[in-house]
Amino acid sequence: MLTAYATLLCYLLGLWKRPALYLGLLTQISYIISRGLELERLPLVGPHDTLTFLSASIVAFSIAFRKPLNAYLYSHTVIAATAAVFTALALFSKQHNAPLPPVLKIIWFELHVVLAFLSYALFGLAAILGFLYLKEKDNLIEGLQYRSILIGYCFFSLSMIFGGIWAYLAWGTYWLWTPKELWTTILWIFYSMYLHARLRQEWMGRPSAIIGISGFAVVLFTYLGVSLLMKSSHAF
């Protein structure tokens, strides 16, 4: 847990100094690895581990965009703030240390969860890029937002497919009507709508940036809202 607190401290320092942001990422990755070794499984069950993974993924993906983002000195501040918020939420969340039930010990489940959170991270990064675009009006930033969403959409779709394969093997059906699946559908259709809307000239720029930002609100409700507020067999 000390490593987790050190990560939060690094991210808070990262609000001012970019190297602290990347140091925070390194400490967070080492924390994730240590959790995996301690639990002898992928540490991606429950709010603590998933929020930690999400935070690290957002920072990791931001590295791919660092060259164009370097032009905006405060961009690392926004990313550090986002990572710090998720890391802090993780620190206040209960760890799930019980072994996985037998039905969760399959590659399809692991791929399903990993890809879901990687996609959430890309959608989160897209929201950050959307805010930057609205402030700076740089078309390059809006283009990066589109790319982030497109790849996130690919990961999210794969996550849904792998989840369906796993569900079929585990429970005999590739689809269940639970709040989680319903909100997952809403999220998928939302980003499908974004990708189609952006093909039209009048939707590029500010409108698509706003849709991209709003999408992350849907992500957060699908991820956290459903798990915390609704009864579902599909919590976290």
Binding site: P99, P102, Y168, A170, G172, Y174, L176, M193, H196
Partner: protein, 239 residues
Amino acid sequence: MIKQAINFFISLKTAIWLLCLLIVMLLAGAVIMPANEEFQSIHSVPMLEWINEQPLGLTWWLWSSIGLLSLLTANTLFCSIDSIIKKRKVTQWLLILSPQIIHIGFLFILLAHLFSSAQGFKGYSAVAEGTALELKDKTILHIKNIRISFDNKGYLSDWAVDAEYIADGKTVKQDSIMPNKPSIYKGLGVYVKDLRAYPEKMVLLELSREPGAVWALIGGILFMIGTIMLIILKWKRDK
């Protein structure tokens, strides 16, 4: 009038509006579903059978969604055909084709949901170790052995159910049902929903038929092939 209808269905604007309306319907469902216990039984029978038995006050959003998806299906088909015809002479034809492969995958997934909603089957039975149950085709499913293991902290660590299928007095198949490994017999899937170790070993079996599963898998594979192709081609073009 026909030309207007065609223009409506090949329009990207139509797709965007249909997707927006679909989101609104599903948001309504996201509020209605948790608030009504009738939805607890939605998985007990094929969905189309279930939806017909429920009051419209609870299911209007589902019916609307089905209607919107039907329009979206037509829109996708018309739009894809129109796109391929109009852009058939371009040099980067793979870039034109990949979104259409994505669309075909999407349509296969919708078809899968339609098949499962119309023709799926699900049944449950609690069976003790050493006892049997009769399937619809008169085959006997005999639960020979239930193996359950716990770790040193008392958590369920693994389980397996040994079963045999008996038809006309002869064993036609022996199988072991394990986590994520159901027993499949003549298209019928046998899954273990729950187990009990004490006072006697019992399993709650789910017998299910999911006719849309293969179509969903094909659709998913096509969708992903198209998406990955599109991302690679766009990346190459932007380089």
